[in-house]
Point group: C2
Chain length 336, copies 2
């Protein structure tokens, strides 16, 4: 069925375009009866408001944008569900855009969003993002943006994060308690503040337990399976190989497990592993994986709730709305 | 930095708005030198075209929409990468919208897309979708739409699928060869043609090997972990419990493995399992999982390539562009 425009709809109803427009916008000038009649006919005749025309008149797009590095990571796929749970309630569509960990892509997406396609944005930055002018530009153009998980410290907005320092500290301390003496840290990217906090938590725990961390045991991984496998294998072939691993990224699980199998190292007897991960299959891996499970759904939901508050009340102090939601250590067979 | 509009840009350049507009649209009326000058100044002053105004003048949105049930499924997250690999090359943004398996959501998203936000759509239908007027409506409004993986047979457009019947037949035959006598089929939804084909492949293989399939051994699962766990547990507690399972959905892995563990049934000794799955962790599960691995990246890439051909050449026969790309059976320890 072809959709009709507002002029055709008005003709069908024998009303003026202005009356129909007011009825569709729920104006107090129009009677409830007329509103009902307009809405019913609009639905029957498949009337779709032209978002471009509406936007030029200053109406909202009723879309929010979610900008994340990827979806092949349980944290992000669960966080999206949290965001959508709020957006659905508010009658908004969620447009998800992926940066694939590229700063260039991230800048292009935010530039595109300046045009008014979305009313607000929820974002987790790419591993390459080292400056934040593109984010400040969008905000100064009147599009509120909330950061979650991977944030830029210097942007003045709400940041929904988890306790990266503390949970990494706790994970490292757990490995120490299980007898590990040489613990390695596998990071995502030097430029991410989230990564720095996790690394600091790891270093602090080692210091507090009189275990020195050599630089050799801090590795920054890539985003690809095969290069990560090679990095991990090289680490485990060192003479002074680690007996414990704190991994900062879910997708390090397969390379670590595979490299250990290929080198005849047993998990947890030879190498113990704990991973920041929301993998549903963590409990059925061989062996089951000890994880730092992030509150992914809750973080997405909280970010969306704050964004909708900002859309309603433009003088809301976003910086003061920042929240830290703690992660939990789930101990399984890869460390015990 | 605040972005400027075309009028301000023209002022800065000391040119007319019309000349700037023509230069930005690469008109032959404008000299290369002027075009370069306009583009350079536009970049420096952060000029962002207003997509709404552009669209009213009939220009393209340079967005394509991807409508899928969810991203917490490796098939879809990999397929997105295939789609994006083509879109990036063409200078298009990809807007991902999730239906969360709801027909209502799916209809709303396509209705929203009628407004001109996207130039074309790539879609995999929800488990609830039993009719396709919403899809035909969008297509008849001039937005080309390509279906992939989960398709509606009656929509006249390009469909990118895998060999669901054949691969399910092959998987069932593999279980028979491994000695299974009572093989169960765990489906997604009765209404999906993809599911019917997989179920038919399973039934055909049983018939060809003189194994009768009782209705009790065909189950349609939900989209949630806990109800699926209960369904699977009930199935495995039957007196005449299956000794083999063909699962049509990646997310059945955790409930099957967990139910078997809780019932003290060993995989593969007591129950063998093969699953339609692109899980990266399939090889490190306990035991490693035999999968029917779908060509997810290739399917996404192919769908996007055909969509861009359709955007360029409006008289392209989409129905004739349908393609079937075969899956492969990866035999691992859950069946051997």
């Amino acid at each position: 069925m072809k959709n009709i425009n507002i002029r055709e709809l008005a003709q069908q109803l024998n009303l003026s375009v202005s009356t129909v427009s007011k009825a569709l916008n729920d104006s107090h000038e129009i009677s409830d009866e007329t509103k009902k009649r307009v809405l019913k006919t609009a639905a029957t005749l498949n009337y779709v408001p032209n978002p471009y025309a509406s936007s030029l008149r200053g109406r909202k797009s009723k879309n929010i944008g979610v900008v994340i590095p990827e979806v092949a990571d349980s944290f992000f796929s669960i966080a999206i569900n949290g965001i959508e749970s709020v957006a659905k309630e508010k009658g908004y569509h969620v447009l998800i855009c992926l940066t694939h960990e590229s700063f260039e892509n991230e800048k292009n997406i935010l530039k595109e969003f300046q045009g008014g396609r979305v009313d607000g944005v929820i974002m987790s930055v790419s591993r390459e993002t080292i400056q934040s002018d593109h984010i400040s530009d969008l905000i100064s153009n009147g599009v509120p943006l909330i950061l979650f998980d991977r944030v830029c410290e210097d942007v003045e907005t709400a940041k929904i994060t988890t306790d990266d320092f503390e949970s990494s500290y706790k994970a490292t301390e757990h490995l120490v308690a299980q007898g590990c003496k040489k613990i390695a840290f596998l990071g995502i990217s030097k430029s991410l503040s989230l990564n720095s906090k996790r690394q600091e938590g790891y270093v602090q725990a080692l210091n507090d337990h009189d275990l020195k961390s050599g630089n050799k045991h801090i590795i920054h991984c890539t985003n690809e399976l095969k290069p990560n496998y090679r990095l991990v294998k090289k680490l485990l072939q060192q003479k002074n190989r680690p007996d414990g691993i704190v991994a900062s990224m879910e997708k390090l699980t397969t390379p670590v497990y595979t490299a250990c199998a290929d080198l005849n190292l047993s998990i947890p007897q030879d190498v113990k592993m704990v991973c920041f991960s929301n993998l549903e299959t963590a409990s059925i891996l061989n062996p089951s994986l000890t994880t730092i499970t992030q509150p992914a759904f809750e973080m997405g939901k909280t970010a969306a709730s704050i964004l909708f508050r900002a859309l309603k009340k433009t003088n809301l102090s976003l910086t003061k709305s920042s929240i830290v939601i703690p992660s939990s250590l789930m101990i399984r067979s890869s460390t015990t």
